[in-house]
């Protein structure tokens, strides 16, 4: 475990890294327009990153031990169905989370 003192050093540095990722395009293209190669990045990367992050959230599931990810996959399926059906982000997120919490309690 990182000590509280080390965490206090790490937090501002981590904050600077995050700020750098947010400020980068504004600093780079403050005086000129983004090239075509950047437009290409702009279009395809967000869904790719989100897909990676969904898998990232499921990475610690012990697949070989019961209930082997059934709860997570069932709740995720509900999120997808709710979102395609009702198109309400908050309903999908909270509905899926509530269902997952119930599954955690009963399974």
């Amino acid at each position: 475990m990182t000590s509280v003192q080390d965490a206090l050093i790490a937090v501002p540095l981590l904050a600077l890294v995050i700020l750098a990722t947010r400020a980068f395009p504004f600093v780079l293209f403050s005086r000129r327009d983004p090239p075509k190669a950047i437009r290409f990045v702009e279009r395809f990367i967000p869904p790719m990153v989100m897909a990676v992050l969904v898998v990232y959230c499921l990475k610690d599931i012990p697949w070989t031990i019961w209930p082997s990810g059934i709860r997570e996959l069932a709740a995720l399926a509900l999120v997808v169905v709710l979102h395609l059906w009702k198109k309400n982000a908050m309903l999908s997120i909270f509905g899926g989370t509530a269902f997952y919490m119930i599954l955690r309690a009963v399974l």
Binding site: M1, L8, F24, P25, I45, M48, L53, T97
Partner: protein, 258 residues
Amino acid sequence: MVNSKAYRYTDRIMLSPFPESAPPSRRVHGRRAAFRDALHAAFPVTIPVLFGYIAIGIPFGLMLVKAGYPWWLSPLMSLLMYAGAGQYIAVGLFAAGAPLSGMLVAMLAVNIRHIVYGLSLIDRFKAAGRWKPYLVFALTDETYALLTGVKVPANVKPGLFYAAIAVLDHSYWIVGGVIGALAGALIPFSFVGIDFALTALFAVLLIDQLKRTRDPLPAAIGIICAVLATAFLGPKNMLIAALAGSLAVLVIARGRTK
């Protein structure tokens, strides 16, 4: 803020001659009043984020305290870092005692997606004036979605409206994290699993992006690379490998057709 009587007196005179009793129309429309109007206009739009950030902020504060850190680290991280996934990952890395260099690389990998958000806001932020630095700092997934998806009311300056959205979202995130950190000891075991809200949030953002782009290839590449990275490199190292790998595959796959 200078805490003297004289300063407070002039401050009041400049803002409003009748601070408490005057009707809104008689108030001097100063900077603060303009921002207050912007907050009023922006609040309804930010309600989904209010619920989302409280719900996702609580487990963040809870995880932080359960990992053995003092409660005040929660608002400090939320104030300075202000990144949902980034702060969750930071708690995990703190708890695992990861080296600082590893943390910085991981943070860069997780938040590199923010570069993409900024690219589509360069023109929009040109009119934001003195709020621009804060808007750039506070550019989270949800704030980005609101800034690009919501129409600015006619009677509010765009820059102020964007700033109001960003400030409200930021405050929700800080409050959620503080509640989680302070109530951490009181929250019963049945709260286990609420962190699934983050997974659901990413899934919802993914579905929205798939609907908008009508192109499943980038997401398919992302899923396949992330699964392979988890299988071969393990859960700890999968994120950077998955992002770098899928980006490379994407460039190869789409570079040819362009």
